[in-house]
């Protein structure tokens, strides 16, 4: 396959939708850190999934070989993407499916709304999907007078609670059972007022609530986990059976998928279906996987659509250090091992994609110059746990560092960075050039203590040093310097020792 490039390179076109964060990561994280209930829920959840994952991964003697195959397959897919997309379109169309192409979130939303209106309905059921979350489809449909019912239990909790998902796999991970019960009692019509907070009963209440919707819906909307180019097959991986309900019962099925989700063929799916469930839920296999290839007469929807969406993916692909972020299969293993995510939670990242992968994927899709998003690559301790956990070996720490560099480069010149830096360096050079200079500066230590105030923390430094205090507080300096303390405490001892000799 060769894609000979002709003519001028086009400028990257970035994505929109629920990708632009509204406040900087440090500001959001500072607020979220104060939510102790959420931190406790999250800690319990991430540790549970983490341990389960390690157990089932250890069962496979060829886990590393599967990771190598998965990573190489994704690199191959990205390099041959135009040809694979055309091959997929040909095969999906030949079997009765209809493909639509969408350059951005708005185009994808309006295609979906148009398809729903063709069916003369104002209610649709939805399988949980990151792509439709990314483009804000539910909100768009609501503006168009169409109600979209989320059918995944966690998405339902989030939707009924007028909340936002905080994890890509378990979107309501920040809510505990009591909070869920309270949401159901307040928002679910005809719910049993004596509902307790037992997870089984809560799940049954959700089943009751959604059953009629499933059995009567004319249109369903889904995402897709994988698409196979050589057969035109789509795959959805799920647990509750809500996916099967949506993919099987309605007459019309509309799937929205990013262009990066392709795999060449079924011998690749066998790799990813071993990597994905074990990495995401820590199960050997998820309860249900559905595969469909266009339309099957007499079985399932007879009106099958797929919206293939760019929305910034080509911009991410143009970043030669960051493009492997598109290899992500949305398993969430990186979130569950991340010390930063575990403490701040998903809301702090402000985008559809939280956690370590979100910290690179979001700014790659929107561009690093997008103001608030430029703070995301700093939302990491660079410990590397995410890289170890990633089933397709995305080197997240390396991309974080690359994006930090991009951020600094993009701000150079606009913030007169060099002159302040020069001054500081000059000052530093003077201070460290002689003990006398340093001693003189140390006399100022009590001033720092004064600046720290009663809680003994300095929360904001001036000028470019503010960058340091954006993500951490500085403890108050001691009232005396080490050298002063040493002089007072140790000189007499040293003198005694000398005498003994």
């Amino acid at each position: 396959m060769s894609n000979v490039f002709m003519g001028m390179p086009t400028l990257p076109v970035f994505g929109d939708g629920n990708l632009h964060i509204e406040e900087t990561f440090p500001t959001a994280a500072h607020r979220e850190l104060g939510n102790t209930q959420m931190r406790a829920n999250l800690r319990h959840a991430t540790h549970t999934i983490r341990d389960k994952r390690l157990k089932v991964v250890a069962e496979l003697p060829d886990w590393e070989e599967l990771r190598d195959a998965g990573s190489a397959t994704k690199n191959l897919v990205m390099a041959n993407l135009p040809a694979l997309l055309e091959e997929f379109e040909k095969n999906f169309t030949a079997r009765g499916g209809i493909i639509h192409w969408a350059r951005d979130a708005h185009e994808a939303n309006s295609i979906v709304a148009g398809l729903i209106k063709e069916q003369n309905t104002t209610e649709v059921v939805k399988v949980k999907s990151m792509a439709t979350q990314e483009i804000g489809l539910n909100e768009y449909l609501e503006e168009q007078g169409i109600s979209a019912f989320e059918t995944d239990l966690a998405e339902l909790i989030v939707q009924l609670g007028h909340d936002k998902p905080s994890h890509i796999l378990v979107p309501a991970i920040h809510k505990n059972r009591t909070e869920v019960r309270d949401i159901f009692l307040a928002e679910m019509p005809n719910v049993d007022p004596n509902l307790t907070d037992e997870p089984r009963l809560l799940a049954m209440a959700a089943r009751e609530h959604l059953r009629r919707k499933f059995l009567s819906a004319k249109v369903a909307i889904s995402g897709a986990n994988f698409a196979l180019a050589d057969s035109g097959t789509l795959a959805v991986v799920e647990s509750e059976g809500n996916g099967r309900m949506c993919l099987t019962l309605p007459e019309t099925l509309i799937t929205v998928m990013g262009i990066e989700k392709l795999l060449p063929g079924k011998e690749d799916l066998e790799v990813f279906m071993q990597l994905l469930p074990r990495s995401s839920t820590g199960e050997r296999m998820n309860p249900y996987t559905s595969l469909w290839t266009g339309v099957t007469e007499g079985d399932g929807p007879q009106n099958v659509h797929l919206v293939l969406m760019d929305n910034g993916r080509t911009a991410a692909l143009a970043d030669k250090y960051g493009r492997t972020a598109l290899n992500c299969i949305r398993c969430s293993a990186c979130m569950n091992v991340c010390p930063v995510y575990e403490r701040t939670g998903g809301h702090a990242y402000g985008s559809t994609y939280p956690g370590p992968i979100g910290a690179i994927l979001t700014p790659l899709l929107t561009g690093i110059t997008s103001e608030e998003n430029s703070t995301l690559p700093y939302a990491s301790s660079l410990c590397g746990a995410c890289y170890d956990a990633c089933p397709v070996k995305i080197n997240i720490p390396e991309i974080l560092v690359h994006l930090r560099g991009e951020d600094v480069d993009s701000k150079r010149g606009t913030k007169k960075l060099p002159s302040q830096m020069d001054l500081m360096m000059k000052g530093g050079s003077w201070a460290f050039s002689s003990g006398k200079h340093l001693g003189l500066l140390e006399k100022g230590l009590p001033l720092g203590k004064l600046a720290a105030g009663r809680d003994k923390k300095i929360k904001a430094l001036p000028g470019i040093a503010a960058g340091w205090t954006q993500s951490r507080d500085i403890p108050a300096p001691p009232s005396q310097s080490f050298r002063d303390w040493w002089k007072k405490d140790h000189t007499p001892v040293a003198a005694t020792n000398k005498q003994e000799k």
Binding site: N3, F5, T10, N41, I49, D62, E65, L66, D68, A69, A72, N75, L76, A79, L81, P82, H100, R103, T151, D152, L153, A154, P199, A203, R207, L210, L215, S231, G232, T233, S239, E240, G241, R244, M245, L249, I259, K266, D268, E270, V271, M273, Q274, R284, M285, P287, Y288, T289, S290, L291, T293, T296, G298, D299, D310, A315, L317, A318, K320, R323
Partner: protein, 208 residues
């Protein structure tokens, strides 16, 4: 320029400096030679871990085992291609779903159970694959009734997913089932049974 042309041109432009990708190493396991008894043992272990009920029987016992599993059902559906020798000759509870005579969603919702065969099963992950053949039926029948009784011929069990994949016709509508419907969305506590069948009974048949 159409959206398709524009997206393809953006991709080509984005990839202009991309290095040629290397080959995909396939050193993971793609074949195995596990004896039949161990395959059965492994599959049973995995299915029970998912809270499915499992019987292992010889072919002559199949009809009585099926009758036992369906004894509490006031009605059940079978696909048109099911082997009728597995079933009692006359059973007023039985509904047949056939092309041209399909049961409506409401009828399925009013049915207690469903009996199907299966195409291939993966012992290592405890996964049963239905492919819509005549003895498995269309996808809705194994979804809407609350209780699924699934026959797994021993000859259809393999150890590894790649071995199963080689046996699958990928263009058929496929459903991979690993235990009954389940959710872990509330405090990660697993609850069996949300929207799909809440009870899964698997009958592994030796000599079939």
């Amino acid at each position: 320029m159409s959206a398709k042309e524009e997206i393809l041109s953006r991709i080509t432009s984005a990839l202009r400096d991309a290095p040629a990708p290397g080959p995909v190493p396939r050193e993971y396991r793609t074949s195995s030679d596990m004896p039949e008894a161990e395959l059965i043992e492994l599959l049973v272990d995995r299915l029970e871990d998912y809270k499915a009920h499992v019987d292992v029987v010889d072919l002559p016992q199949l009809p009585t085992t099926i009758a036992e599993r369906l004894k509490d059902a006031t009605s059940f559906v079978v696909p048109h291609g099911i082997d009728t020798t597995w079933l009692p000759a006359a059973d007023a509870r039985r509904r047949i779903d056939a092309p041209g005579a399909v049961l409506s969603v409401t009828e399925l919702d009013g049915t207690d159970a469903v009996l199907t065969s299966s195409a291939v099963s993966i012992a290592e992950s405890g996964t049963i694959v239905l492919d819509g053949s005549g003895d498995q039926g269309r996808r809705a029948i194994s979804l809407v009734p609350d209780h699924h009784v699934c026959v797994v011929p021993v000859s259809s069990i393999v150890r590894l997913l790649p071995e199963a994949m080689a046996r699958m016709d990928i263009t058929r509508p496929l459903t991979w089932i690993s235990g009954p419907s389940a959710t872990s969305d509330i405090e990660l506590e697993r609850v069996e049974g949300v929207h799909g069948p809440r009870q899964l009974d698997v009958i592994i048949v030796k000599g079939l």
